[in-house]
């Protein structure tokens, strides 16, 4: 005799078992008198539970609703407040996206102006653009301390480090901006997800 299926009988009776599990219980029931009796007991219990109909004892729905109407508190201002909160809620991602677009445009324009200036397309208007070799602040400090000429070919190592720093700074600034904006957006998505989880939930008193 195979193992009894007692723990699945309730779910079987309720029509909650599907596919293979259902077939297993059914085939077991064909051979097992104990489980058949158990299932019969469960059905009997269910009919006993349903035999008592308390509906006739309840007050009519209309009377209940009328009594309830007297106890319902006012909800003044709630819809307006809710609408304002909803608008604020959707303004956050719109603001983040706008910031991202702004940063992208700024970086693009700055790159274009710099390239145009270097190509001499801006003429006199490019006078305010930094000209000649640029150096990192640490390099300028080191050079002034050691009394070095930054453009001398002998300071190859220092100049290489200087160029790496300048390149890093140029790359890092846009990356930091984009990472910060992405984090803000992901943060909003997370908050939105948590909010939607909590929305319909009213916590149960201990179960």
């Amino acid at each position: 005799m195979r193992e009894h299926v007692t723990e699945w009988l309730g779910a079987y009776m309720d029509g909650e078992l599907q596919g293979l599990q259902r077939c297993q219980v059914e085939s077991h029931l064909v051979d097992c008198q104990t489980c058949r009796a158990e299932l019969e007991d469960l059905r009997e219990l269910s009919s006993l539970l349903h035999a008592a109909d308390p509906v006739k004892e309840f007050i009519p729905a209309d009377r209940f609703t009328a009594q309830l109407a007297l106890r319902l508190p006012r909800r003044t201002g709630v819809p307006m407040q809710k609408k304002a909160l909803e608008i604020c809620w959707w303004l956050i991602p719109a603001g983040v996206l706008a910031a991202w677009v702004f940063v992208q445009v700024l970086l693009l324009l700055s790159g274009a102006v710099s390239a145009a200036g270097q190509a001499g397309l801006l003429g006199r208007a490019a006078a305010w653009l930094p000209t000649g070799p640029q150096h990192g602040s640490w390099m300028v400090t080191v050079a002034s301390l050691l009394d070095l000429n930054l453009n001398e070919s002998g300071n190859l190592i220092l100049r290489t480090l200087d160029q790496i720093e300048l390149f890093g700074t140029d790359m890092l600034v846009p990356v930091i901006w984009q990472v910060a904006i992405s984090l803000m957006y992901i943060g909003w998505l997370l908050l939105y997800w948590m909010r939607s989880l909590q929305h319909n939930s009213i916590p149960l008193i201990d179960q």
């Binding site: 007991d41 209940f64 508190p73 009213i202 008193i205 179960q207």
Partner: protein
């Protein structure tokens, strides 16, 4: 004001905007289900009415946070379960000594038999009351409201496996408690 053909979604929207008549119609539509749940959890009509009133008031207060895409009935049941358990907290708990009451006399024919039959049904309700609130809630939602295991899991925010184990526990306990009643019923029909 009556809303004979109005859909539930439209009534919910109106009620969320503060329309008390629309909310009244929603209450009328869900009154029976909510009352059945709280009555089975409280075991007393008066307590059930108090719990149902509390539940509908709380639902009204939180209605703005209800998302129309989900089931209003299940949302109301969740609030109703809370309210019923809260009402029960304020009343002295039933003890296991009350199980003695479950000694059932045989029901014969005629008015006396009918009376005994009513007593028997009252005993069924008392046996339900002896279950732990967690198991009782799952049993009531399944047996009296016909919610699927999945719906119960969502309504009570518990795993599906927990629904099944609580239901099994509740049924086994009830079979123990109601053994005299079930045996007398068998004798009657034999």
């Amino acid at each position: 004001m009556t809303f004979p053909a109005e859909t539930e979604a439209s009534l919910v929207k109106k009620a969320q905007e503060g329309d008390r008549s629309a909310y009244g119609e929603l209450v009328r539509r869900h009154y029976q289900g909510v009352m059945t749940v709280v009555y089975r959890l409280c075991g007393d009509v008066q307590l059930a009415e108090d719990a149902a009133q509390d539940a509908f008031i709380q639902a009204w207060q939180h209605l703005s946070s209800f998302q129309p895409a989900s089931s209003l009935r299940n949302w109301l049941y969740r609030i109703a379960v809370n309210a019923a358990l809260d009402v029960l907290r304020r009343k002295p708990e039933m003890t296991l000594d009350d199980v003695q009451v479950l000694m059932v006399p045989d029901a014969g024919p005629g008015p006396e038999g009918l009376l005994l039959q009513q007593e028997r049904l009252a005993l069924v309700q008392q046996a339900i009351m002896l279950l732990a609130p967690a198991s009782r809630t799952v049993l009531v939602l399944r047996e009296y409201e016909g919610l699927s295991y999945q719906e119960i899991a969502v309504t009570l925010d518990i795993p599906l496996g927990t629904v099944m184990s609580r239901l099994n526990y509740a049924r086994n306990r009830l079979r123990e408690l109601l053994e005299p009643v079930m045996m007398s019923t068998e004798v009657e029909y034999a």
